[in-house]
């Protein structure tokens, strides 16, 4: 069978080294798709802050390793890496957010067409299937191409569909990187307008916080 199978996977998803080359306690407790040496390259900085009165959890520091990994996933279209980003926290997130709806920050539909997948959506699906895909970009732009002042105008560029699905629900908003926080703030205000019962936020990485 020519298909990557997470149950029988013996190679690290990132460096292709044997998963059992270095034995670690983490690997004994959890089934992880990456090896110990790649795991060590993540700068884990798991902490929660208050973001406009809502709990925002940040998992990693945005270091060179994370940057290149995210580039391989989003820029080189390596869908297999979707299992890597949350692997350390997966069980805990599944348990904690089992009755939440996950709202993903939108990505450009043009890029998604080329990729063949929407990156954040695929990561969200590794937690569970209750994913809300109603947020969308009104025009195609790349966040990293925008200046700081342009980023402030992001709020006019994101729209929302199927608002009713979030009414009275528990919502978790997720995004990959937080830099100027303009995207996250826009997503938050759009979701707030749908009057859900609880809102929490989860960001994979940040270079400042």
């Amino acid at each position: 069978m020519y298909l990557y199978d997470s149950k029988t996977q013996q190679e690290c998803l990132i460096c292709f080294e044997n998963l059992h080359k270095d034995i670690s306690l983490v690997h004994l407790v959890k089934k992880l798709p990456i090896c110990l040496s790649c795991l060590r390259k993540f700068d884990i900085n798991d902490h929660t802050i208050l973001f406009h009165q809502y709990r925002l959890r940040i998992l990693y520091k945005y270091n060179d390793f994370f940057q290149s990994l995210l580039y391989q996933y989003k820029g080189l279209y390596d869908l297999a890496l979707k299992d890597v980003f949350l692997c350390l926290f997966q069980d805990e997130l599944k348990e904690r957010y089992k009755d939440y709806i996950i709202v993903v920050a939108p990505s450009s539909s043009k890029s998604n067409e080329i990729r063949g997948f929407a990156p954040m959506e695929q990561i969200a699906f590794t937690i569970h299937d209750q994913v809300f895909l109603g947020l969308y970009k009104k025009e195609d732009y790349k966040q990293s191409d925008l200046s700081y002042s342009q980023r402030k105008k992001v709020k006019d560029k994101i729209g929302i569909r199927n608002k009713d699905m979030l009414k009275g629900k528990k919502v978790l908003i997720i995004d990959d990187v937080i830099t100027s926080s303009s995207t996250l703030r826009t997503c938050l205000s759009l979701v707030q307008a749908c009057s859900p019962s609880i809102i929490e936020l989860l960001v994979l990485s940040s270079s400042h916080w």
Binding site: M1, L3, Q9, Q72, D78, L79, A80, G116, F117
Partner: protein
């Protein structure tokens, strides 16, 4: 299932997206679907008449190889040039490039090192007239459609679908190209006509179906300087370097001190700074270009460096000493390149190359033997 690009056959290294499998092993060079076959659009381009001008005359052997390369290309044969360091191998392909460009064909000059690409680009712009030339390396793309491209071997993947009539690969024995089967395959896929590989060190396994051309004399026709070894425990090597530097300083000669690790560069430059004007250069240090300029201008006695300076630099009348030469980074190819820094100019054709080591390694032996053989014209 096999990846058409890197020939990976390992099932776990394929992944499926929208019912199509792609190869993850060579994903760094864009996503390659397993069922995706090349569709080539290589066409000739009409351009103005291209010609070049050199500020000096080619030596007899340079002229001979230059015309042989052109002959091989016309006869659709690939060539492999073994040219010793400092023999002026870049100039010998000028005639071939001019010929191909004037036929309207697409040409690529590639090398594994970015710095070298930049230098080559300046050189070609200086010597060639009316040429449609572009430079491509990581983070820098001019025009991918140009008739003549200078790029790093890592950027060749951008041309897999168009290819070139002629590709010249310089420093074929250098990291990261040498021994990397994915880069080798990408190179082969870009060759839609003939190629010329140039290298200072060639082993039997490197020769495939090419015609081997050897240029074992430097431009100035003198022998290559032969390295000598000084055997001593590592703790004494530092003091020998002081002695070496003192001797060279008295003769107003510049010195390159090669060390195996970045950490060694830091330690050694700090240690030597008590007595001499020295600075360190490694891949993570800044202002490397300026430091080299300082040495060239005589404001420094020496530079402590890693193998980063093994290729592509010419410093007049420089002497070389290698610290901890038994370290595995100093393989025969690297040592030959290091020795190649010495005696490159006609007015300073000789110089000292000293290997400091506590044991006489196979690699050192091979390096010295190869240089001896090249000097004997074998």
């Amino acid at each position: 299932m096999e990846c058409p690009r890197c020939h990976n056959q390992k099932a776990t290294r394929f992944y499926k997206v929208n019912d199509r499998y792609y190869c993850r092993y060579c994903i760094q060079f864009s996503r390659q679907y397993v069922d995706e076959y090349d569709r080539f659009h290589l066409s000739k381009k009409k351009s103005a008449y291209v010609h070049y001008q050199l500020s000096f005359e080619l030596s007899h052997i340079q002229k001979k190889i230059s015309s042989l390369l052109k002959e091989n290309y016309i006869n659709q044969k690939n060539s492999l040039v073994l040219a010793v360091c400092g023999s002026g191998k870049t100039e010998i392909v000028f005639e071939l490039i001019k010929y191909a460009l004037n036929q309207g064909e697409r040409v690529c000059f590639c090398t594994p090192r970015k710095e070298l690409c930049k230098e080559l680009y300046d050189r070609f712009l200086l010597h060639f007239n009316q040429v449609d030339l572009s430079l491509v390396y990581g983070g820098h793309i001019e025009n991918l459609e140009s008739q003549f491209i200078i790029c790093t071997t890592h950027q060749l993947y951008r041309f897999e679908k168009t290819g070139f009539h002629l590709i010249i690969l310089d420093e074929a024995d250098a990291f990261p190209f040498y021994g990397n089967c994915v880069l080798e395959e990408i190179f082969q896929r870009c060759v839609k006509g003939q190629y010329v590989k140039m290298s200072a060190t060639i082993e039997k396994d490197d020769i495939q179906n090419e015609e081997l051309l050897i240029m074992n004399r430097r431009y100035h026709q003198h022998d290559l300087p032969l390295p000598y070894k000084r055997m001593m425990p590592i703790i004494f090597q530092k003091y020998y370097i002081i002695y070496f530097l003192m001797k060279m300083k008295a003769q107003q000669k510049k010195v390159l001190i090669f060390t195996p690790l970045i950490k060694d560069v830091e330690e050694m430059s700090h240690f030597l700074a008590k007595w001499f004007q020295v600075k360190g250069i490694h891949s993570k240090s800044q202002h490397n270009k300026e430091t080299i300029e300082l040495l060239k201008n005589g404001q420094l006695d020496g530079i402590v460096c890693t193998t980063i300076l093994e290729r592509g630099i010419t410093i007049e009348d420089v002497q070389v000493i290698v610290y901890n030469c038994e370290h595995h980074v100093f393989n025969a190819r690297t040592l030959i390149q290091i020795a190649g820094r010495v005696g490159r100019k006609p007015n300073a054709y000789d110089g000292k190359i000293c290997f400091l080591s506590s044991s006489y390694t196979k690699e050192m032996k091979k390096c010295i033997y190869t240089i001896q053989r090249l000097n004997r014209n074998v």
